[in-house]
C-alpha cells in the first residue's frame, strides 16, 4: 500500500509492506524495518530499526495529526497535484469525482441522484480514525451518481459521488 503525505509543504510517498506486527516502510530511498502494534487510545507503538517510537494519531481537516516522541506534526493526506477535488471553501473548480479522503465507513449519504448541489455543500459523512467527517462538493452542479450507502466501507480509490459541473 502506498500513501502520499505532505508535511510543511514537502511531499512524501510512503510505502508499507508486510503483515502486522512487522512492516517494511519505504520513504524515498530510506527503508525501515518496523515492529509495530496498535495500542488502545489511538496509540501506535513502533520499534523502528531498534528505536522505540510511540505515536498518537488523530484525524484532522485535510489529513492526520501525529504526535511522536514529543513532536507534533500535521500530515496532509494527498498533495495538491493529486487532488481531484478542491478543499471546501475553495469554491468551484476541479472535477466532480468525489472520493473518500481516507479509508473509512459511510455514516450517512446526504444527497441523492439528480439533486442540485452547490460548492461547499456536504455530500457524504465518512467515519475514519474515530472521527466523522463531512465530504463536501468542490463545485456547483448536479449529482450524477451516488455509489455508496450508509454502512459501506470505502477506500480512497472508490468514487463515492459524481457531480456534474453546472455549465
Amino acid at each position: 500500500m502506498e500513501y502520499e503525505f505532505s508535511v510543511a509543504g514537502e511531499k512524501y510517498a510512503v510505502r508499507v509492506e508486510g503483515k502486522p506486527p512487522h512492516a517494511r516502510v519505504v520513504i524515498g530511498e530510506r527503508k525501515y524495518e518496523v515492529d509495530w502494534s496498535q495500542v488502545p487510545g489511538g496509540v501506535i507503538s513502533m520499534i523502528v530499526d531498534g528505536e522505540s517510537r510511540t505515536a498518537r494519531v488523530a484525524a484532522r481537516d485535510g489529513g492526520l495529526v501525529v504526535w511522536v516522541d514529543g513532536h507534533r506534526l500535521d500530515l496532509d493526506v494527498g498533495t495538491a497535484e493529486d487532488e481531484s477535488v478542491g478543499r471546501a471553501g475553495g469554491g468551484a473548480g476541479g472535477s466532480g469525482i468525489i472520493k473518500a479522503p481516507m479509508p473509512g465507513s459511510v455514516v450517512k449519504v446526504l444527497v441523492s441522484e439528480g439533486e442540485e448541489v452547490s460548492a461547499g455543500q456536504s455530500l457524504v459523512i465518512v467515519e475514519a480514525m474515530k472521527m466523522e467527517n463531512e465530504v463536501r462538493s468542490p463545485l456547483d452542479g448536479v449529482v450524477k451518481a451516488v455509489n455508496v450507502s450508509a454502512g459501506d466501507s470505502v477506500g480512497t480509490s472508490e468514487t463515492m459521488v459524481e457531480v456534474e459541473p453546472a455549465e
Binding site: Y3, I27, V34, W36, V57, W67, H71, S153
Partner: protein
C-alpha cells in the same frame, strides 16, 4: 467550614476542589451551559447551573452565584482567579449575606483594586513606587507636566483593570496626547472607567512578585519570590522560583517590603505583591494581586506550603501556624501555562474536541489540569487548559525536567502552546536566566527557522501510514478489533428487560 462553593471553572476550580476534599470539606461547583461536563463539574460533590455560556450571564453574574450558594447551603465561596475573584462588590455581597468570601475583605479589595489610591498608600508607608503621578489627574495637561518632570520614556496606564489593557509607551513629548487618548478609549470600553495616569517606564525590568499569607489576627509572612518576566502581550506564560536575579539580601528587603504592603492595606488571606526589578537592582511596588495566582504552584513546590489550604484556614478565622523563620526555599520550580492558542496563527484561541491527551507525570512533575480526553474546549472563556509545574534540586535540573515533561505531553485535536513553551525552555537565553520582560520579542521572534528533524518527520510518516493501513485492515475484517483472550470472558447470565 461545612461546604464551599467554588465560583469558577477550569483547572483552578479543580485545584480548589482538591484542597477542600483534602480537608474533608464538601464542594459545590457552578457551571454554565458550556460547562455541563467540564472537569470541575465531574470532580465536585454538587453542581448548580448558573446560566448560559457567556461569562457575563454565568460566572460573572453575582446574583446567580449567590443564589447557587444559598441553594446548596454553602457557608463559604472560593472565587479562584479571574471572574469575580477581585470584585469588591461581590466580596461585599458575600459579607452582607453572611457567606465567607475566601479572600481579603471587600474593603482591602477596594483599596488595592485602585492603582492610584494604592500608590498613595504605599508612598505614605515609604514603599518604593515608580516615579509618576500620585492622584488621578485633573486634566491631560497635568499628565503632560508630570511626564516632562519625570522624563521620557513614560507609560500611560489605566487606573482600573489590569493585564496591560490600555497601557501605552511614550518615548517623546510629541506622542503623549495621542497615547492618552488611546488609553482612555481602551480603558473606557474594558473597565467602564477612563481614568489614566503616567509613570516612569523601567526598561528591560524583571517582573518579581512576592507571595504573602496574612491571617485575620495581624500575622503576615511572605513565601519568597516568583519571577514572571516571560510574558506575551502582558500575559505571563512561564514562571519560576527562586528568581535568578534575586540574591538573599535583595530577597530579604523585598520580602519585608511585601509584608509592609500587606499590612498597609489591612490585607488578610493569600495575596501577591508585584514589583518591577530594574537592572540596577532597585525595585518598585507595582500592585497587589488580591487572589490566588495562576502561578501559585511554584511557591508550593519550593516552600512545601499548600496555599489554597492556607486560604481556607485563614478564612475560617484560624491563626497562621507558620512563622517567617519556619519558611525556606528548597530547590527550584518552574511553571508553564498551557493555552489553547495557535502559535503558528498569531496565537489565536483554539477550540474543539481533545482527541488525545497524554499528561506528563513522574517525580517532581505536577499537572494542574482542567481538561480530559474527549472533552470539547468551549470558545467562551480564557484559553488556559492546564499548568505544568516541575520541581528539582536546582534550576538547571528543573529546566531539564520541564523539557522532559513537555516532551511527554500530547494534546491532539486543538492547537496548544506546548511546542512554543519547549522552545522557550530550551533556549540559551532561558538556560542562562536572561529572563527580562522583553524575552519574547528578543528571543522568540525568529522561531521555527528549522523544521523538525528528518528522523522525526519520517517517524510521523511511518505512524501515519501504519495507522491508515490498520484502518484498512479493520474495515476488511469487518470488525472493530481483534478478539483477545481477555475479551472471551466466558458465558454470561441472562438479564431480563421487563419493559
Amino acid at each position: 467550614m461545612k461546604k464551599i462553593l467554588i465560583a469558577n471553572r477550569g483547572e483552578i476550580a479543580v485545584r480548589v476542589a482538591r484542597a477542600c476534599r483534602d480537608m474533608g470539606i464538601p464542594v459545590a461547583a457552578v457551571y454554565s451551559d458550556a460547562d455541563r461536563v467540564s472537569l470541575h463539574v465531574l470532580e465536585a460533590d454538587e453542581a448548580v447551573r448558573i446560566g448560559p455560556a457567556p461569562a457575563l450571564e454565568s460566572y460573572l453574574d453575582i446574583e446567580a452565584v449567590i443564589a447557587a450558594a444559598r441553594k446548596v447551603g454553602a457557608d463559604a465561596i472560593h472565587p479562584g482567579y479571574g471572574f469575580l475573584a477581585e470584585n469588591w462588590q461581590f466580596a461585599k455581597r458575600c459579607e452582607d449575606e453572611g457567606l465567607k468570601f475566601i479572600g481579603p475583605s471587600s474593603k482591602a479589595l477596594h483599596l488595592v483594586g485602585d492603582k492610584i489610591r494604592s500608590r498613595e498608600t504605599m508612598l505614605a508607608e515609604d514603599v518604593p513606587i515608580i516615579p509618576g503621578m500620585l492622584g488621578a489627574p485633573d486634566s491631560d495637561d497635568e499628565c503632560l507636566e508630570k511626564a516632562n518632570e519625570i522624563g521620557y520614556p513614560v507609560l500611560v496606564k489605566a487606573s482600573a483593570g489590569g493585564g496591560g489593557k490600555g497601557m501605552q509607551v511614550v518615548r517623546s513629548e510629541g506622542d503623549l496626547m495621542n497615547a492618552i487618548e488611546t488609553s482612555r478609549r481602551v480603558a473606557k470600553s474594558a473597565f467602564g472607567d477612563d481614568t489614566v495616569y503616567v509613570e516612569k517606564l523601567i526598561e528591560r525590568p524583571r517582573h518579581i512578585e512576592f507571595q504573602i499569607l496574612a491571617d485575620e489576627h495581624g500575622n503576615v509572612v511572605h513565601l519568597f519570590e516568583r519571577e514572571c518576566s516571560i510574558q506575551r502581550r502582558h500575559q505571563k506564560i512561564v514562571e519560576e522560583s527562586p528568581s535568578t536575579a534575586v540574591d538573599s539580601d535583595l530577597r530579604a528587603r523585598m520580602g519585608e517590603t511585601a509584608v509592609k504592603v500587606a499590612r498597609a492595606v489591612g490585607y488578610a488571606n493569600a495575596g501577591t505583591v508585584e514589583f518591577l526589578l530594574d537592572e540596577d537592582g532597585s525595585f518598585y511596588f507595582l500592585e497587589v494581586n488580591a487572589r490566588i495566582q495562576v502561578e501559585h504552584p511554584v511557591t508550593e513546590f519550593v516552600t512545601g506550603i499548600d496555599l489554597v489550604r492556607e486560604q481556607i484556614l485563614i478564612a475560617s478565622g484560624e491563626k497562621l501556624d507558620i512563622t517567617q523563620d519556619d519558611l525556606m526555599q528548597r530547590g527550584h520550580a518552574i511553571e508553564c501555562r498551557i493555552y489553547a492558542e495557535d502559535p503558528a496563527n498569531g496565537f489565536l484561541p483554539s477550540s474543539g474536541k481533545i482527541l488525545s491527551l497524554l499528561e506528563p507525570a513522574g517525580p517532581g512533575v505536577r499537572h494542574d489540569c482542567g481538561i480530559y480526553e474527549g472533552w470539547e474546549v468551549p470558545v467562551h472563556y480564557d484559553p488556559i487548559l492546564s499548568k505544568l509545574i516541575v520541581h528539582a534540586a536546582d534550576r538547571e535540573a528543573a529546566r531539564l525536567r520541564m523539557l522532559r515533561a513537555l516532551s511527554e505531553f500530547a494534546i491532539l485535536g486543538i492547537a496548544t502552546t506546548i511546542d512554543y513553551l519547549r522552545e522557550i525552555i530550551a533556549s540559551d537565553a532561558f538556560a542562562a536566566g536572561e529572563t527580562q520582560t522583553d524575552f519574547i520579542e528578543k528571543h522568540m521572534a525568529n522561531r521555527h527557522a528549522d523544521g523538525p528533524d528528518d528522523d522525526v518527520v519520517h517517524a510521523a510518516l511511518i505512524a501515519g501510514a501504519l495507522s491508515l493501513s490498520a484502518e484498512v485492515g479493520r474495515r476488511v475484517a469487518g470488525r472493530r478489533r481483534e478478539l483477545s483472550p481477555w475479551d472471551t470472558l466466558g458465558g454470561w447470565s441472562i438479564g431480563r428487560e421487563t419493559s
